[in-house]
Symmetry: C2
Subunit: 336 residues, 2 copies
């Protein structure tokens, strides 16, 4: 029942444990016959080194924590997959954590990951306050911020150009003749929520269109909140519906669409919609949505690369990478 240790291997092969370790790590000359003896003992005993002990000594756990709002959100899953594609070949494993957009839970998770001594953390924060993150970095744990940033934090950051993308897609709506535009957004305490809202407002402003407060909806960046917000809005504004909805995130677009259909409205005949971020299985959802297509997988890959760099080398230079997402025109916007 108990696991075989390096001692037993050493005994069986008639060598010291140092020699076994050297055969395993291949970082010191060992004569060929001894090496073979050791390898034989290893395979006979079916020895598998204790990674915990290794980590204790080497101060490397070969684990990377990834902390996002919700691991079931395809956007974050894509990021995770991107990270994994880069780090798994180097023998790293990923620990997934969901904050559910709760800053307290985020802090708890970060502490836990720190206790586990993960080699790096990839984080899409829901916090406005970076003090614990700063601490982590100062104490030598690389933290790579993805999707969302915190101002004034000395950390590598990979985000999308939210302001301009939101500006552009709002402009697109305006050029199609829309003036009564509703926005379904996440919280403004999150950088993506804030920036997308700023871009949206700027586009209205530049076109001399007034922001209509009753069309400004907010919630957590998820399907349910968007569904409820849009449903209520439609019910309350039956007589004065917006002609278009800007959903500030993929899940919110889905929630909004479900609400629209449930209320017996058509897209885009009765109401147009655009999304920030791709839907799940977009090929099966009609009409094809006009949206900002994001770079989740690439962001993940970049985050993975930076994580590996930081783990192995220089830790005190930081960069911010801004990805420029595409505007993809679909059929969800009507000319008015």
């Amino acid at each position: 029942m108990d696991k075989v240790t390096i001692k037993e291997v050493a005994k069986k092969a008639n060598v010291s444990i140092a020699t076994v370790s050297r055969v395993l790590n291949n970082n010191y000359p060992v004569s060929e016959d001894v090496r073979l003896k050791v390898l034989e003992a290893i395979s006979e005993l079916n020895y598998q080194p204790n990674g915990v002990a290794r980590s204790l000594k080497s101060k490397r756990t070969h684990m990377i924590g990834i902390v996002v709002a919700d691991i079931t959100n395809p956007y974050f899953m894509q990021i995770a997959k991107g990270v994994e594609s880069v780090v798994s070949s180097k023998g790293y494993n990923l620990i997934f954590c969901s904050t559910n957009e709760n800053p307290t839970k985020e802090l708890k998770l970060l502490r836990l990951l720190n206790e586990k001594r993960v080699d790096a953390i990839v984080l899409a924060t829901c916090d406005k306050d970076g003090s614990y993150i700063k601490q982590l970095i100062e104490h030598g744990t690389p933290v790579i911020m993805v999707d969302r940033k915190i101002h004034g934090l000395n950390a590598d950051t990979i985000v999308e150009d939210n302001f301009n993308a939101a500006y552009n897609i709002t402009n697109y709506l305006i050029n199609k003749g829309h003036k009564k535009i509703s926005v379904v957004n996440g919280l403004l305490s999150i950088s993506t929520g804030k920036e997308r809202f700023e871009g949206f407002k700027k586009a209205l402003e530049d076109n001399g269109i007034l922001l209509i407060e009753k069309y400004v909806l907010k919630g957590n960046f998820n399907r349910e909140d968007a569904y409820n917000a849009v449903k209520n809005m439609i019910k309350e504004q039956r007589e004065d519906l917006p002609t278009a909805i800007f959903a500030a995130n993929n899940l919110m677009a889905e929630g909004a669409m479900i609400a629209i259909y449930e209320q017996g409205l058509r897209i885009p005949e009765d109401i147009s919609i655009v999304s920030f971020g791709d839907l799940s299985v977009p090929q099966l959802i009609k009409p094809k949505l006009t949206l900002i297509s994001q770079n989740a997988y690439v962001i993940g890959q970049k985050a993975g690369e930076i994580a590996l760099e930081k783990i192995n080398g220089e830790k005190d230079n930081y960069r911010e990478y801004v990805m420029v997402p595409d505007l993809r025109v679909g059929e969800s916007v009507k000319q008015v």
Copy 2:
């Protein structure tokens, strides 16, 4: 840059390291004034215990490995979420691994998880051979098999009643008058593939309907393989299309639908379809699919519970849990 250790806390609080440890673990009487001194030192130094060292001594890592074909498949994500919902409150973290249906990669991942000394493994295997899994269990690592089973393996197993569910939904098609039925399935080396196919065949047989080989499609349980298989089938059988398709998994249903639409056919007017497993965002996909609705989240929860039990207690009794999935009637099957 270096992390604070228990030694420094002890020094600062003027006590021994044993006392600090006792304050942390609260498993031995410590006088109130000493406890306060220690807690103060901890917070002043911002000490966070080294989980690696703890794990080495306590032989508990508080990590559970979860190994599935593809972490981006919503079905497996639901399982993972179910596991997480149960174990995270007990302080456990999840390490996610994707095998991409590659048994060699699975073995590598299992070895890695074993080296990491995870406390338990939740596994949806793509392997037919359970020898390494058996080894793991014998050496004291609980392995909970989910979704897919391996015959003759002494492990806790939680699966769906694939045979009967497949039988029932095929029967449903037959009762709707379908005789030319195509099946898009995963590999038969995987228990779910095999059992669903058996159920499918039995239903045909019981109704005196012949299996038509050219309508039997196979691939990995993913969107792409299903898409390609169905696309080719439609092209080749233009003159003799099946009237219905049984997709043996959620992703395959999606791939099949995309192919059907791309080939200019309608659902269910030109071709009916049923799915084993729920689609992503089913509310947005028209027509509403008739399908076998699975219990992924519940399976995950059960797996989490069993994992915790096994970690803490009895290890040598094993059970197989069989969940009975629902048949949900939608609008994707035409009466013929």
